[in-house]
Amino acid sequence: MTAILSAHGLGRAFRVRKGHLHALTDVNLDCEPGRSLGVVGESGCGKTTLNRLLLLLDAPTTGEVRFKGKSLATLTAPERKAYRKSVQPVFQNPYSSLNPRLRVRRIIREPLAAATDMSRREIDARVDEVLEAVGLSARDGDRVPAEFSGGQRQRIAIARALASKPELMLLDEPVSSQDISIRAQILNVLKDLRAEYGLATLFVSHDLATVRFMCDEVIVIYLGRVVERGPAAKICTAPDHPYTRALLAAALPADPDAPPADVPPRGELPSPMNPPSGCPYHTRCPFSRDVCATARPPLEPTGDGAVACHMTHAEDW
């Protein structure tokens, strides 16, 4: 099956005052039709950079992003239009993603007017349709963002993304600024829409529990590198990489009697300006040995996933 969007050896380095900051290094991923991929990592891991690269808001320094097998850098104008129509983002903060001076109808209309050849009437009908699909009403189209709560705003942002009938939605922490009750509503809406329209999603999040709910497969990123990938069920219950295990321990369950974590998180994120030698996680890893500081473990397949850790090779660890 061809991926809608795929990353191949994707990397992005920023030039800063004292050298280069490698925000993202050698990331490979495939967004396949109807599948839901999760990208998990903490602040500074490069997930925002990844999102920007996939959205053509930024250009990679190494590797490439391909839309249906073709590099984004070489798309012709009509192909680019098809890409814009097929890949739609939803951002974290619905207060920033809706222009406060436009009516909701105009906000939702924007991608349709720019990336499709629909007539004005078709567009208006489509706007009503997507507003209802996210649980708002067509009348809400004539109001301005200030009249809506945070949760409703996020629904509007989702409606906007949905309008051009995309194949893939890039969801960047779409619920992390929402209250619990609203979070559940939005997650359910997203899941329903996915089933209804056969959407593929890329779900960027810092929270393993949300990822478990939303995703089939998960990639875990640490300091710009993929350290583990695998089915969501495995990553969220029995991960291999010590970092993923720390993340899992840190995803505090709503249960006062939960057993203590086997690998509690420790240490601080090292400066991305000056990343550790060898395995990027070795400075915080409870299992770290000499080899971890000298050689970087490659991402190697392990049955249904892949993990970048020396421990997977040594029997006696």
Binding site: E42, Q152, D179, S181, R212, L248, D255
Partner: protein
């Protein structure tokens, strides 16, 4: 005797009797050494309650505050400015969500810490400051004393804020979402640290949060807030194992879990009401699946079991 005892606290947006109430008739106790969680969604009033204890609410709210807040038997709301000033940062200290708001960017961490230690009357300030940073697990404390807040990570800053808060050996520490801005792995370590410090100093904590995972990890008792009222309080196990208020139940059910995959999250329809537009009676009734006509009147807070109280008409029915 309770350390802190809030009685019928109402905070309105202004002095007028009909001004919208952010907090409506709150009563809550905190005993020495225990951690009480205040959990709720945005607009529930949980932060306002935290701030009210030290009378740190803005003037329009302060003017609309009625009720009593007893600290060791003395009403904080009637306390003269001088005693209040001594209480703040003395017997009661605070940790807020944004550590940069508590730290002064133009002074080094060391000088801010020493200032607090000097207020506490510690003799050897340099040594005490180093020990204070070491106690909050900051590596190479002697060097970090010279650092400025912006040179530290969010987690480290929050540790510094805690060290400053602990300088005068408080009996109560009010934490207002102190880990919300932190990454999960850093939050985990900070919560562990708070628990250690609490045990070592025998402090009580009032912990404001929206995260049930955090509540489960750190609290002894919980008060669940909705639309300015406490709808349910109880020991943490009671609340998680045997929640009685429909809101508590729905909130707990709506939290996704890593351990099992659901098809859909059980959810509450609608959104929490804004301060000016709270429904009559039980504020939750328009969103409540169990609502009956009676819910248009405010239910009294009933004690179900010792320490477990709930304000819901239906809960009492079920027990009876």
């Amino acid at each position: 005797m309770s350390l802190l005892s809030v009685r019928n606290l109402t905070v309105r947006l202004g002095r007028e009797a009909d001004a919208p109430a952010i907090l409506d008739n709150i009563s809550l106790d905190v005993d020495p050494g225990e951690t009480v969680g205040l959990v709720g969604e945005s607009g529930s009033g949980k932060s306002t309650l935290g701030m009210s204890v030290l009378r740190l609410t803005p003037p329009n709210l302060a003017a609309g505050t009625t009720g009593e807040i007893f600290w060791r038997g003395e009403d904080i709301l009637k306390m003269p400015a001088k005693s209040l000033h001594k209480l703040r940062g003395g017997e009661i200290s605070m940790i807020l969500q944004d550590p940069m708001a508590s730290l002064n960017p133009v002074f080094s961490v060391g000088s801010q810490l020493k200032e607090a230690l000097r207020r506490a009357g510690k003799p050897d300030l340099a040594k005490a400051a180093e020990a204070a940073l070491a106690e909050v697990n900051i590596p190479s404390p002697a060097e970090r004393l010279r650092a400025y807040p912006h040179q530290m990570s969010g987690g480290m800053r929050q540790r510094v804020v805690s060290a400053i808060g602990l300088a005068q050996d408080p009996a109560l520490i009010i934490c207002d979402e102190p880990t919300t801005a932190l990454d999960a792995t850093i939050q985990y370590q900070f919560l562990d640290l708070l628990r250690e410090l609490q045990r070592a100093h025998h402090m009580a904590m009032l912990f404001v949060t929206h995260d049930f995972g955090v509540v489960a990890r750190i609290c002894d008792r919980v008060a669940v807030m909705y639309a300015g009222r406490i709808v349910e309080t109880g020991p943490v196990r009671e609340i998680f194992r045997n929640p009685q208020h429909p809101y508590t139940r729905a909130l707990l059910a709506a939290v996704p879990s890593t351990s099992h995959a659901l098809d859909r999250l059980p959810m509450i329809e609608g959104a929490p009401p804004s301060v000016g537009a709270r429904p009559e009676g039980c504020a939750f009734h328009p969103r409540c699946p169990l609502a009956i006509d009676k819910c248009r009147m405010q239910p009294a807070t009933e004690t179900l079991r010792p320490g477990h109280t709930v304000a819901c008409w239906r809960a009492r029915e079920e027990v009876a």
